[in-house]
Amino acid sequence: MGGSWLQYVAGGLTAGAIYALVALGFSIVYHASHAINFAQGEFVMIGGMSAVSLVALGLPLWIAVPLAVAGAVIVGLLVQRLALERAQSGGQADVVTLIIITIGVALFLRGLAQLVWDKRIHALPAFSGSEPITIGGATVLPQSLWVLGGAAVAVLALGWFFNRTLYGKAMRATAINPLAARLMGISTRGVMRTSFALAAALGALGGVLTAPITFTSTDIGVMLGLKGFAAAMLGGLGSFGGAVAGGLLLGLIEGLGAGFVSSAYKDAIAFVVILAVLFFLPGGLVGARRSERV
């Protein structure tokens, strides 16, 4: 038992980093519009599948990855322009309306992807080899470090963008009070577009980084979307640090639960913990400490 707990932690962190990246995408859209974008998982799928197709065409990874992310951004912008913006034209749409539209968009994108691509499962080559690295008795794949690193960089970049840049502050202002923001000359439409582009880019990046570990297929968005959403709730919706903390924690609970209790109850353990956290801290781990953004 002695050395195995380290492996449980390593495995948990690997899965957790993946959940964290998906959770971050939920947080961005929530941050800007207070809506939950249930198409977030599909952006992950589009990123992964595009990268796989581009690599299959013979492009090297360092070209395929940015292209796949750019492709997802275009899809994200189209979704915002053609679906959500129309609902909002003529005033501010209800948040619930937006959420329901994103569910429809998710179904549409998944169906479309099945037509464009096949229904098979694909793998992307690992960025830097697949030889496991041994750390104190536990083994970690180099790709897991890429995912963890990607999540860390994304959090720092988002923090800087939303707190230090004028446009980021404008986005936060729109989230707090759209009408006041518009009176101040902020294009709320532009803000929503930017938030969708960012969420799509982040989702696609997550899809690309995780494809070598989890593989990718047209229906992967459902599974990752659910876990990512749970992680975002656990950490506190709208908080970037919370999304990452929630993702890592969810992964760790699963890994340790499977190792020390029973792999059959691993998901149940994870969800019981989430329920307990939300019961005592309704705003999530990080969200609870911040009062309503004013």
């Binding site: 492996q7 449980y8 495995g11 899965a15 499962i121 694909h122 697949s130 083994t139 876990k227 499977a258």
Partner: protein, 388 residues
Amino acid sequence: MGLNPQSVRHFARRWLLPLGLPLALAAPAWGQEPIRIGSFLSVTGPASFLGDPEQKTLEMQVEKINAEGGVLGRKLQLVVYDDAGDAEKARTFAKRLLEQDKVDVIVGGSTTGTTMAAVPLAEAAGVPFISLAGAVVIVEPVKKWVFKTPHTDRMACDKIFVDMKARGFTKVALVSGSGGFDKSMRGECLKVAPNHGMQIVADETYGAADTDMTAQLTKIKGSGAQAVLNAGFGQGPAIVTRNHKQVGVGLPLYQSHGVASKEYIKLSGDAAEGVRLPAAALLVADLLAANDPQKPIVTAYRNAYEGKYKSEVSTFGGHALDGLMLAVNAVKAAGGTDKAKVRDALEATKGYVGTGGVVTMSATDHMGLDLSAFRMLEVKGGNWSLVK
């Protein structure tokens, strides 16, 4: 009413044209009633990887048989409905096949769920029904009118345990997914393990969405097992294979027939080296010995399918081919489409060489395959090789 030219012309335009067109298309059936083969398959939906090749295979084979003059001088007429993997729809379509289309035999049912929904209808109507789904429950207990072509998961367990025993293993660690296939196979393996003197020392599971199974494999590493068996389907087994190498379990790994495709090797990469799994002969058509009884049929089917549809052949399409050919042979043996006679002929099938194996049915066995239907494969150099 006199037969003046005008009224004849009117009659022709009014009745003969609309009726005449379909009759002309069905012209081969004009002289004699066609033999109606009914089918409901999961062509779309989550089980489309089963239904799609099955439909293509049935269409291809019916076309071929008709081009060669049909059966007993009668053409085959194929009626296919898509149940999208929904048992309720399958039931409706089976009813339509039996009551409206009045089919002579049903060859279909891509999944165990859709098959079991149609079983009571076929039994009540007294129409031979050859299922293309895997689970043992379809033919156990034996149902008078129901047959099936694919191997069962119990056979896969048996095949794997026989191989383990030959290598001197007695302690096995089981790891399985949470899907229907995975659960069913896990249950069957647990059931038959004592028959082979196998002791299951670990029984781990993982969820359908899981991306990391290192925790389960680390546990197995310390369980004292001599071999690991993964009953799984989809991407799970490929992740298990990679994690198995990553954690350094160091025990021989067995996979199920559920992942017997090139895709599995591609996804698992070099971690798949040395992995063993049972599979149908169709997958290794090239590797079969020249005198192998299955070599001609699997080679012919693979070439025809891949030539026509430009996609890799799958065992599922093979099950459909076997189902159709069993029905055709039974009709030939019965000398017509009398349903009771066809059923008896099906039950009396002896030594039919299909893509799934050599089929010999009996009153107590409506599948008719034995363990020789599975070949034990090992991954070597990124490709399959036969274990002698």
